[in-house]
Amino acid sequence: MRDLIRRYRNLLLAVALLLSVLLLYSYNLRQKASTTFFERAVLTLAAPFQASIDGASDAVFGWWQHYLWLVNAEQRNVELVQENLQLRKSLQQVEEFRLQNERLRELLAFVDDIDRPALPAQVIGEDVSSWARTITIDKGTRAGLRTGLPVVAADGVVGRIIKSSPNSSRVLLVTDASSAIAALVQRTRTRGVARGRGAELSLDFALRDADIEPNDLLVTSGMGGVFPKGLPLGQIGQVERDEFGLFQRVKVAPAVDFSHLEEVLVVVGEDR
């Protein structure tokens, strides 16, 4: 027996090591809400470097765009003046709508309004792998952030914080395969679960007979308790209904363009 163990010592050690790492992974899977000391240390150590790289790249791009790459500057200037005029006109209309909206809200006592304090943060890094969809932001526990807080952008839901260190946090994007959010179709109030699929989302558990059409807006239902109700998640793309089966297959294009995400808002407070 001793000879056998001695003979296969290296193999047994390797198997034992792999099993212990698997156990560690399995244990950490149940502790999703907590950030381990190791992760906190690595994130803390990397945050200043990431912020510096981000700042440096911004400076280099700015310098390039403003002082060197001026090939279409005049043409662009004319286009922007035109665009500015149109935007001013639109802005006046928007202001009218805003005032009208305020009056209607007071009249209807619209309680679904999302009105929570939010903290702006800058995206300083992306996920280190090609399959997972997470980003790193430059605010952490020192700014009052904690795991589980929802993160949004001007266009809609970005994701939620999964790890936080004193000066940075990691955000699980809604397009990540492990992300699932209670959602509803705005037009018909059909409920389902918006699940990440890499570049897009899918609406799972939407009943086969439910009325869902392409271009419908998908919003958060507020059921999970993480995201406020009514935030845009995406726009319905392809809808497939099999002859049999309980649910339909719905593809959703995310509302946020994650490839150009620079600033986000972390919703920190409760409903007012």
Binding site: S26, A46, S178
Partner: protein, 178 residues
């Protein structure tokens, strides 16, 4: 000890490049995984104890910036390291084309292990649909990056000395007497 920290610094540099620099120029699928290259190089060049310790730390580092749970990349990197070490007993590891081939094999193994672990342990449903289409891009990016790194390192070596093979593979050379 100095070498140990050098590898760790290289690992941190790879992570910083992957998280903050590469996304400026490439889509996620086309960002090379330099940590994988580093782990394979460790498997070929360092003694077992040091390579295992470094791989555990590098895997943990990668886990800190990817996915949701610590341990996934530790397991994947460790398995790749052990496989590389097992293979290196039978291969001429100083051959540059073979190193490139190992990177290709490493990329496939990495994706396979990720898919198995995420499906079996984390129950992440559609992860295979995310991993599979990205595999050719990832493979291309990793091969191109490792080819560029290898060419650069060999050129630098040529400038500073007259050694023909890839430096750092001293351990293997000692073992096999080459």
């Amino acid at each position: 000890m100095r070498g140990f920290f050098l590898y760790l610094s290289l690992g941190m540099l790879a992570v910083l490049l992957r998280t903050s620099v590469f996304p400026l120029f490439f889509t996620p699928g086309f960002c090379p995984d330099l940590l994988l290259v580093l782990v394979i190089y460790l498997g070929l060049s360092e003694n077992m104890l040091r390579a295992v310790l470094l791989t555990l730390l590098l895997g943990g580092m990668q886990d800190s910036f990817s996915g949701t749970s610590l341990g996934l990349y530790v397991f994947v990197c460790l398995t790749i390291l052990l496989l590389v070490r097992l293979l290196s007993e039978h291969l001429n590891v100083e051959s540059p084309p073979l190193l490139i081939l190992l990177i290709a094999g490493g990329t496939v193994t990495q994706n396979l292990l990720l898919a198995v672990c995420l499906t079996m342990f984390a129950d992440v449903g559609p992860v295979v649909q995310v991993l599979l289409p990205a595999l050719p891009q990832q493979m291309l990016a990793n091969l191109l990056a490792s080819f560029l790194i290898l060419s650069f390192v060999l050129k630098i070596q040529h400038l500073f000395g007259n050694r023909a093979g890839l430096a750092g593979l001293v351990y293997q050379s000692k073992r096999h007497g080459t």
